[in-house]
């Protein structure tokens, strides 16, 4: 399907284009479409990665026509595209393929019109029955849309083309709802058609974790319990909930960030080498890691977790209201905006090595990194000298904002009997001098090419929820007494530092 024996493609220095297809976006008048999806598609066109005939059909409630829809998208691309202001000629050519289909998600006649529209596009633009359905809607709408697609025969393509469906996060709220959603989806589509998106996996630096580990021989022998003291994974955001308070208050950091993004990062650092770089081989290994993580039982949350909620404070020099004062948030909200976890991966490689995960909103900086802290050397050699103060080696994989890898090691200060930590710094930006594509570009293209390596499989989602749900239950059973417990613009609650101090460790200062 994706391996066409196109003889002109042999050894070409550039990427493949997918077959002409139509991307149907449900929720096309929403924020995600004009801020991320269509800018990503336009950038792909800009990079010559989309074929002639490529088409988009937007589906949402408001009664727009094609022209209005195109104008909204044009404004969105102008404001959000990484390639800068839209090039008029290119946009004109791209926009010819953009259409809008008004309708309610539960209205069968709207789908009947969609069927006609798609058939007409197949003829006129040569899209050959190839379709991607993108669910960019509130999650409550997923079941309706999926059912209607099935009822109208849109789950499979005419003319021997392919049909795929991309489902946005959140994929469920807990294990039971994720399983239920999986059942609804798989009642209509087959698993290989389903692309559950976690945009973190589309980030170049996240993909590079695997390359870094499995393309370099020198680290792998150190990548286990014999050499590693512990691992810290941090995803910090320097924003409040902004205008998503209503959504966030029903979600919280554990479900909004840890369940998907941080668990994916954990799986990528901890996994065994896959047998091949193929979608299922990679995902098999990730699932194994998630299954090996020791489950935190509800009654254990006080030992293995810490949570926080931000109070008023100041972020990047600007005052920020407390979480409970944000629009859409319950003034007595128990929702956590900060989480710290201690997890153990119980397999031969990692037994006994703690993985500390933390993520929070309204923290001082936007930063994501994975830090592998190695065990310290037996310091006997330098014990009697002024050089006894040796810090452990740390390998930090930085995902944002400045993607790169740093390695900290000790070195003697010239002329003095002292050891000082120095870092070796490698940055993608300066080493390759090219801008990385946006995560959504990569993911949309992969889906059109039929490559699901960077998407989450059914068992992965469920394995992750089965770890997260008991923690959430434990928290519900013992409401936080001290919320709000950290000031916006600080590095989280004091209890998070105490949490680490109990193990004789500290969070990395970032």
């Amino acid at each position: 399907m994706s391996d066409l024996p196109n003889p002109l493609r042999h050894g070409l220095r550039i990427g493949r284009t997918p077959e002409p297809c139509t991307v149907v976006i449900f929720g096309a008048s929403g924020d995600l479409t004009s801020r991320k999806l269509v800018p990503a598609l336009y950038n792909l066109a800009h990079e010559r990665r989309l074929p002639g005939g490529f088409s988009v059909v937007g589906f949402a409630r408001r009664p727009w026509d094609d022209a209005q829809f195109r104008q909204v998208l044009l404004d969105g691309v102008n404001a959000n595209s990484r390639s800068g202001a839209v090039e008029a000629e290119l946009w004109a050519s791209f926009a010819e393929g953009i259409h809008y289909q008004p309708g309610n998600f539960d209205d069968p006649s709207a789908y009947a019109r969609l069927v006609e529209r798609l058939a007409e596009l197949d003829l006129r633009r040569g899209t050959g029955g190839n379709r991607v359905f993108y669910l960019a809607t509130p999650p409550e709408a997923y079941p309706d849309i999926i059912r209607q697609l099935g009822a109208h025969g849109l789950h499979q393509s005419p003319h021997g083309g392919w049909t795929r469906i991309i489902i946005e996060k959140p994929f469920g709220r807990d294990l039971a709802s994720a399983q239920a959603l999986n059942q609804q989806v798989l009642a209509v589509f087959a698993e290989p058609q389903v692309y559950r998106i976690d945009h973190y996996l589309g980030k170049e630096t996240v993909q590079n974790i695997m390359v870094f580990r499995f393309a370099n021989g020198i680290f792998e022998p150190l990548w286990d319990r014999r050499s590693v003291d512990h691992v810290q994974i941090t995803v910090a955001e320097n924003l409040g909930v902004e205008d998503r308070g209503g959504y966030y208050d029903h979600s919280g950091a554990l479900r909004d960030m840890i369940q998907n993004h941080l668990m994916q990062l954990l799986a990528l650092v901890a996994m065994e080498p896959p047998v091949s770089y193929d979608a299922d081989a990679v995902r098999d290994e990730k699932v194994k890691v998630l299954r090996a993580v020791r489950r935190i039982r509800p009654e254990e949350v006080a030992t293995y977790t810490v949570r926080g909620q931000y109070d008023a404070g100041s972020l990047s020099g600007r005052p920020l209201a407390g979480y409970r004062d944000e629009r859409g948030v319950d003034p007595a909200s128990q929702t956590e905006t900060y989480v710290g976890l201690k997890l153990f991966v119980e397999n031969w490689r990692w037994a006994g090595v703690p993985f500390y995960l933390r993520s929070g909103k309204a923290l001082p900086r936007r930063v994501s990194e994975i830090a592998i802290q190695f065990k310290t050397v037996p310091t006997m050699l330098f014990a009697e000298t002024p050089m006894h103060d040796i810090e452990p080696n740390v390998l930090a994989i930085k995902l944002q904002p400045d993607e790169g890898i740093t390695l900290k090691f000790g070195s003697k200060v010239p002329g003095q009997p002292q050891i000082r930590p120095v870092t070796m710094d490698f940055r993608y930006g300066t080493s390759f001098g090219v801008a990385s594509p946006e995560a959504y570009e990569r993911l949309l293209l992969d889906c059109m090419l039929g490559d699901s390596t960077l998407f989450t499989r059914r068992d992965e989602v469920e394995a992750s929820w089965s770890l997260i749900t008991p923690i959430h239950q434990g928290w519900l059973a013992s409401p936080a007494q001290s919320f709000p417990n950290y000031e916006a613009g600080s590095w989280g609650p004091n209890s998070a530092d105490e949490f680490m101090a109990r193990d004789g460790r500290t969070w990395r200062r970032l």
Binding site: L8, H10, L12, R48, G53, L90, R125, G126, G433
Partner: protein, 390 residues
């Protein structure tokens, strides 16, 4: 940031060290300066003006390929023998708070008989354990004495076939050389050949190949029996090299074999006949392909370059695939037309790449570019059929 100092030739290394410690001290806000060297780039020319363009390109290249560049400006016909050297750092402007990345450049200005000293000097100045690229900006690069002197250490030789003094003749030589080096026939050490004109065809090849990523269109590719390549020939200067390379690429990918002596030239238009693998069976199976190279005097812009590539299957269901420069500079229009269906076209970016872009594209390759090697082999055959420069 660029600084240039005149130095005694033997003191180049010392001068470089000095330059680096100065730039570390002088760097704005005490930011770190990273000296990053990913390759040795030896750039060689006879032409002072061209040397400036090469320096510009090397500086732009620092972003992706910081290097130790050695620019040799050789003027053997100058009366007085003289050899001067200069060093400079090529630094990228960096964002606040991020370290500055710098490469370095040594310029050797050699005149008269001193030109003969340059190769030994270059050998002494190479940074060990990094690839060595020799960029020859001569109209007759394969006769350059520097190539003979340095071939045992060079990993890649870069030329620009569009700028050859005798384009078809040199193209034949390049194809022969490529055959020798790729068969390892020269010696233990071999090098790869890069042609910047070939690099400039990437967008054209990409847009052409993309038609056939589409399953329903792929079968037509085997049926192509007519190719027309249109290119600009400003002021009557008919240089078919880019067209020959593109034709060579198509032919090598599709297993078309040039027929002996089957070339005709009519009013500057060149027509080749090739044999292709049979499509269909029996005596009616069509096995011939024609490739027309059509120079056009007045085109868009003043640059020589490709204007259009048109692939057609005329026998049976007609199918046509056309990539052409759009009226707006920097874009190409692609159109697929199959009899009985609506034509499908799109506009795509197809900018004229800068010299630095072309260099960067070639430097990204770690090994021989087999596609180029195959295309060049056929292009060489076609050029040999032409037999003379037109």
């Amino acid at each position: 940031m660029t600084s240039m100092t005149m130095v005694e030739i033997g003191a180049i290394e010392r001068e470089l060290r000095q330059l680096w410690s100065e730039s570390a001290e002088k760097s704005p806000d005490g930011q770190a300066v990273i000296r990053a060297l990913t390759l040795n780039l030896i750039a060689c020319t006879h032409d002072a003006e061209h040397a400036d363009r090469m320096t510009d390109a090397i500086q732009q290249l620092t972003a992706s390929h910081p290097s130790r560049a050695i620019l040799a400006l050789l003027q053997p016909d100058a009366p007085e023998p003289r050899l001067d050297g200069f060093v400079q750092a090529n630094c990228l402007l960096s964002r606040r708070g991020t370290p500055q990345v710098c490469g370095e450049q040594i310029t050797l200005d050699a005149r008269g008989s001193a030109v003969q000293q340059v190769a030994s000097l270059i050998l002494a100045l190479l940074v060990p354990d990094l690839p060595v690229v020799l960029w020859l900006s001569h109209p007759d690069p394969f006769d350059a004495p520097l190539l003979a002197r340095l071939r045992s250490v060079v990993d890649r030789v870069m030329v620009n076939s569009q700028a050859f003094a005798q384009p078809t003749k040199e193209l034949v030589r390049m194809a022969e050389l490529e055959r020798t080096v790729s068969s390892g026939g020269l010696a233990l050490h071999t090098f790869a050949i890069s042609d910047l004109t070939w690099a400039s065809l990437t967008a054209w090849r990409e847009l052409t190949a993309q038609f056939f990523d589409t399953r329903p269109l792929l079968p037509h590719l085997r049926r192509i029996d007519h190719v027309t390549i249109t290119y600009q020939a400003p002021n009557g200067a008919n240089n078919p090299v880019a067209g020959l390379l593109l034709a060579g690429w198509l032919a090598s990918c599709l297993a078309w074999v040039p027929l002996e002596d089957a070339v005709s030239i009519e009013a500057a238009q060149i027509r080749f006949h090739l044999r292709r693998p049979a499509v269909g069976v029996g005596t009616g199976a069509i096995r011939l392909v024609t490739i027309d190279l059509c120079p056009v005097e007045a085109g868009i812009g003043a640059m020589p370059g490709l204007l259009a590539l048109h692939l057609e299957a005329l026998d049976g269901i007609t199918a046509s695939f056309r990539v052409e420069r759009a009226e707006t500079p920097g874009y190409a229009l692609t159109t697929a037309t199959i009899a009985g269906m609506e034509p499908i076209s799109r506009l795509a970016r197809c900018e004229e790449p800068s010299l630095a872009d072309l260099l960067a594209a070639e430097l990204r390759l770690r090994h021989r570019d087999q596609t180029f090697s195959d295309a060049l082999r056929v292009a060489g055959l076609l050029a040999a059929r032409l037999g003379r420069d037109i």
